[in-house]
Structure formats: structure tokens, C-alpha cells
């Protein structure tokens, strides 16, 4: 039993954090929002750092790392409100495709993902739209139980406008064919949903912390009544309360990445949805009218958090699922049950 990341994992996290601080600073996010939302140059650098291949098996040219390695990276992507499609790809699509890496056509997609030559988008059948469908070469889509890997040429997209100016979502029309079926194993979409929920939770954690940090920074400098507003206890307590919520959402996310069990995943998802929503509403309050503008960076983070809260199972979905797993008569929930089945 050791609930800690390795030195290497933390070091890699720090490298990615520094990289994103330089290449995906709020000013650059703003720039992307003013343009078409994506920076091919930044994406190339993500590829160079090995991030697109992070979870791709070594045989397909990736680093072959697991979800525990990746979860910290996803958190950083959230912290920076990274516009490019990275997390959905390395945290949902690739772990799924890797299960079928023994098939040559899937292996070649994985290889192309690792080198940055191809992008894969994925949408759960429960969600109406697919993120970054337009930029993808391949889409992973569902019909009933079946999971399909569909080439971009075979889909028709209807772009939609998200509240998040950096999100690129689209409705997808396509025809399922035998040649596109990846698997029709029952329950596979449930497992994919868990991967999606972990991806959203990890990003939400980073987003929430980013919002608190922005608000704290503002509170240190903005003066009213002759002193920084951060010296007022109401402001302090607002932010401290959010920090508590973030801190106690953190371990559940890491555990979910380790176990990938539905109960752990739903816990992480709900805790982060709540913490991020609280971070957003608190941060805007601390910023005052500034927070209600497009001029201050806060809104990029708030809007991402709002958008991510609804996909890959929203709060109600996960609560209902949790209720079935925790409140049923045979649920194992005692003090000794937390790590019992790992």
C-alpha cells in the first residue's frame, strides 16, 4: 500500500506544467479563442514531448504508460485550459484502442496517434456531441453496444457552439458498417464511460485549482478601503472553503485512475463537479465586476468547467449509479472496504 506518485511521475508532471505555463498561458488561450481555437504549433510540441503517445503501447511507438501516469497530465491540461484535444485522446480513445492493438488496422491508428500524424475523437452515445470531431482523422462512435472506429471521411458533422469558446463540438451523422466495428462486447461503453469520467474529473481538478489561484492572485493586488481585498476575512474564507473541496476531490481522482472501478470513478466525478462549480462561482465573486467580463481570463476556466460537467455522465447520472452501488443491501461499504478489492 503506497498512495503516492513516484518521483518520475511528479517530475514529468512538473515538466508538463512548466511547458503549459510557457506555451499555453492565458494570453495564448485568449489568442486561440480569437482565432480558430487550435494551435498546430503547440500541438506539434505536445507530440514532441511524447504526450500524444503517453498511453500508446510501446510496440506502437508510445511510452506505454498507464492511467496513473496520465492522470497528473490531464490535471495539468485542465489547469492550463489547454484548447487542443489531448486528454480525450490519450485518456479515453487510446486506452480503448490499445485493447485491440493486436489488429493491424488499430495498431496503425495507434502508431499515427503517437507520432501526431492522426487524431482520434471519441463520443459516448449518451452524449449528443463529439468534442473535436472536426479535427479528427478517426472517430470512435457507438450504435447500441457496439463500438465503431470510423474514418473521418465517413461522417457528416454539424458544428455546434459551446459556451466554452475553445471547445469544438459537433453532432455526427454516420452509417454503421460491419467494417467499422471495433467490438460489440456488451458493457464496453460503460467501461469507456469510466475512462471519460476520469478524464473529465482530472481536468476539472486542474481547472478548479486554476480558478482559485487566479482569484487569490487578484485578491492580493486589488485594493479597496485602502487594503488588498484578500485581507478581508469574507474573501479569505470563501477561497479557503473551495480549497478544502478541491483537496478532498484530489485523492478520489487518483484512486479512480488506479482502480478504474465504477464506484470510485463516480465518486471522483461528483466530487470534482462540485468542487469546480464552487471554484467558479467563488472566483467570479472575488473578482467582482471584473470577473463578469470577457477581458479577464477567469471565464475561460469557468466555461471549460461548466462544459465538462455535463458530458461523460453528469452529476445526476453518477449519483444514480453511485446509489445503486452504495445503497444496495449487498454493497461493501465498511471502514475496511475502501481498498479491499484492489
Amino acid at each position: 500500500m503506497n498512495f503516492a506518485f513516484t518521483e518520475d511521475q511528479l517530475l514529468f508532471r512538473d515538466t508538463v506544467r512548466d511547458f503549459l505555463a510557457a506555451e499555453c498561458a492565458p494570453a495564448q488561450v485568449r489568442e486561440a479563442a480569437a482565432g480558430d481555437g487550435r494551435s498546430p504549433a503547440r500541438f506539434d510540441k505536445l507530440v514532441e514531448m511524447g504526450l500524444t503517445g503517453l498511453t500508446v503501447p510501446e510496440a506502437q511507438g508510445g511510452l506505454g504508460l498507464g492511467l496513473v501516469d496520465y492522470v497528473l497530465i490531464a490535471e495539468e491540461a485542465g489547469r492550463a485550459a489547454l484548447p487542443e484535444l489531448l486528454v480525450d485522446q490519450i485518456g479515453i480513445a487510446v486506452p480503448l484502442l490499445s485493447r485491440f492493438a493486436d489488429r493491424p488496422e488499430v495498431a496503425s491508428v495507434l502508431e499515427a496517434v503517437a507520432t501526431g500524424a492522426a487524431k482520434v475523437a471519441i463520443g459516448h452515445p449518451m452524449d449528443p456531441f463529439v468534442a473535436d470531431a472536426a479535427g479528427a482523422d478517426w472517430l470512435i462512435l457507438g450504435k447500441g453496444d457496439a463500438v465503431h472506429l470510423v474514418p473521418a471521411a465517413s461522417v457528416a458533422l454539424t458544428a455546434e457552439t459551446s459556451v466554452d469558446p475553445l471547445r469544438r463540438i459537433a453532432g455526427v451523422e454516420w452509417l454503421a458498417g460491419n467494417d467499422t466495428v471495433l467490438s460489440d462486447a456488451p458493457g464496453l461503453w460503460d467501461e469507456i464511460l469510466d475512462l471519460g469520467a476520469i478524464a473529465m474529473a482530472a481536468q476539472g481538478l486542474g481547472l478548479a485549482q486554476a480558478m482559485v489561484d487566479l482569484a487569490a492572485e487578484y485578491a492580493r493586488t486589488r485594493q479597496q478601503f485602502g487594503k488588498p481585498i484578500g485581507s478581508f476575512q469574507a474573501v479569505k474564507h470563501h477561497l479557503a472553503t473551495v480549497q478544502v473541496a478541491i483537496e478532498f476531490a484530489r485523492a478520489p481522482v487518483y484512486k479512480a485512475a488506479f482502480t478504474q472501478r465504477p464506484r470510485d470513478v463516480s465518486h471522483a466525478r461528483i466530487a470534482v463537479i462540485d468542487a469546480a462549480a464552487m471554484a467558479a462561482r467563488t472566483a467570479i465573486q472575488v473578482f467582482g465586476a471584473m470577473g463578469y467580463t470577457y477581458e479577464v481570463d477567469l471565464h475561460f476556466f469557468m466555461k471549460r468547467a461548466w462544459a465538462l460537467a455535463g458530458v461523460w455522465g453528469d452529476r445526476h447520472y453518477h449519483l444514480d449509479r453511485m446509489a445503486r452501488m452504495v445503497l444496495s443491501d449487498d454493497a461493501a461499504i465498511g471502514a475496511d472496504a475502501t481498498f479491499a478489492d484492489n
Binding site: 503516492a4 479569505k236 477561497l239 478520489p252
Partner: protein, 386 residues
Amino acid sequence: MDLRYTDKQNAFRAEVRAWMQANVPTTALKSYDTAEGFEEHRQWERVLNSGRFGMVTWPEALGGRGADLIEWLIFEEEYYRAGAPGRVNQNGIFLLGPTLMEYGTPEQKARFLPRMAAGDDIWAQGWSEPGAGSDMAAIRTKAILDGDHYVINGQKTWSTRAVFADWCFGLFRTDPESSRHHGMSFILVPLDTPGITRRPIPQLDGEPGFAELFFDDVRVPVENRLGGEGQGWHIAMATAGFERGLMLRSPARFQETARRLVDLYRRNESHVAPGVRDQVLKAWMDAEAYCLNTYMTASRLIAGGKIGQEASLNKIFWSELDRAMHETALSILGARGELMASGIPEAGEIARWLKGFMFSLAGPIYAGANEIQRNIIAERLLQLPR
């Protein structure tokens, strides 16, 4: 990261479980806030010690098992799972113990720790004074050096279980000219020393859980000082760190409450209001989150880390969780929720929720009020100006 227990850890759990099954009293002890209940609980501490379960993390020579913090968590899980009695010596074993381990001389460790583990010395804390609650640096009780003794004069209050305890540890002003955080020392005082008067204060439930302590020329040998003279504040902060950060409230306690809450919900599901389900789920998740967070802290400490300001996050979380769980339980019980005693079958369970609810209201006050913890988080973690 590896969230699986080792074979050794599983074996340890099995050993604790079997021992608890054989030794935990089958009928509940009387409240340790009564004279009789206090001695019953002391007796239980002796039984625990006979199984070398008094404080498993201590070295064997001092009455422990040299267990690490993960094993301590396992021990606690089995302890609460077995419904074992409350620890009457929690101030000693969970707070003073670790502090002695860090700051005590070898003589002090040998003198105090084995007796503490054995339940021979039950400890009370003496920080608060009438004029020094949240503002602990306002402490005025003096301990003035006279030869090889300190002479203590002043008053402490809200000292939990000090009505019946054998010793108290606390902060005293050893430099009469000093103010605020300076000039205080951490001193251990036998409560039967001449010159000490104890006045019981009944708590919310009517039992004398607090004592007010009056010191009138109380002479305590210098070797009862823990750490250097004037170092008291620094050491007290370490004790507070153990208290808030890890030891005082082990996760198993709240997970057990959450389990009881889920159980109560299941039995009443057909007639509770719809929103209650989500409150129950939230309680269960939060208790779980507290556990996970503690395992992360334990792993970090085992790797050589230290408890820092994040202890304040902890303290807020568990105290507000405990209150929320009890409020939810009472809302499930509805009109039966006022029953302190009754002939109906669930009477014992209801009274337990009610007493737990009352005590949960103290959680956000003791161990540093939550407002103060929020100040600490804002100023030290988020670096907001004072």
C-alpha cells in the same frame, strides 16, 4: 502508487480482527465522562495494552509494535469495525505521544510513553484559558522557575476529561515579561499536585466532560518541561499539527458513521424525502475521501514528508462531515429524532445519533475553530495578506 495491501498488512489486519473479536466488551461501557465510566475505559486501555495494541506505531520498547502509519490505519479500521470503546487516553496517545516522540528526551520517553500506552496515566490538555481560546498566544498562566521547580499560578479551562485524568500537558508562560508567542514553555503537570483545584463543567449532554483547572503555587519539577524553555509555542504547534492533520480523528471513525447512516437510510428508504438519498451518498463519499486523503498523507509521511498547513484543510473537512452526517441521520429519524431515552426498539440507536449530533457541533470549535483554520489556509496556503 499501489493501492493494494501487502500480505503482511493483510495478516496484521487479520490479527487485529481476531483479537478485537475476542476482547471487545460485548456490552457498552459507561460514558467516560463519568467517574465510573472513566475507570471502565481505563481498564479497557489496559486490556488493549495487554495485546500490545495500546499504540501500535510506537517502538516495542515503549509499549508499541513499531507499526507504520498504514498499519495504524488498518488497526483503526478494525477498531471501529469492531465497535470498540472510545479511547479515554486519546489526548495522550494521539497528541502528546507523537510530540514526546519528536521532542522528548530519552528519559522522558521512557518515563511517560509506556505508562501512557498502558492506561496508567490518562492525559488531559491544558491550552485554553478564560482569556485565551482561539487566541492561544494570549495565555497568561505563569510557571516561574524557583530552583529546580516551576511554580504555576493561573487558570486553564475546557480541559477535556481533566476531572478524572492523572496528568495534563499544556502551555505556560515561563517568562513573565514576555508576550504573545514568546516566553512560553510546554510543561507536563500531575493533576494531583497540591495547589490544583478542579471544577467540573457539564457539557451539552449534562456530563462533566470539561474541567476548569485552578493553579495556586503548584510546584512542578523542571524535568517535566518538554523541549527548551521558551520553545513552548513551537512544540504546541507540532501537537496541533498531529491533532488536526492525522491522529485525532482517524478516517475509520467517520466511515463507520457513514456505514451506520447508509444502514439507517436503507431501513427507512420507503418513507424518506427524495433529497435525503443524495445527502447520504455525499456523506459516504466524503468519509471515503477523508480516508483516501489520509492514506495519501500517511504514504507521504512514511516517505519522510512532514505534516504542514494542510492539516487545517483536514480539520475543517472531518468536522463539517461529521456534523452533516449526524444532521442527515436526524432528518431521516424525523419526529423520533428527539428521543434521548425510550422503550421503543430503536431507542439506543436514536440516542446514539442524538449524542453524536451534539458532539459533532463541537468539532468545528475544538482543535482550533474552523474560522481560524480558514484563516490559516487563506494566509499560508493561498498567501492572502493578513
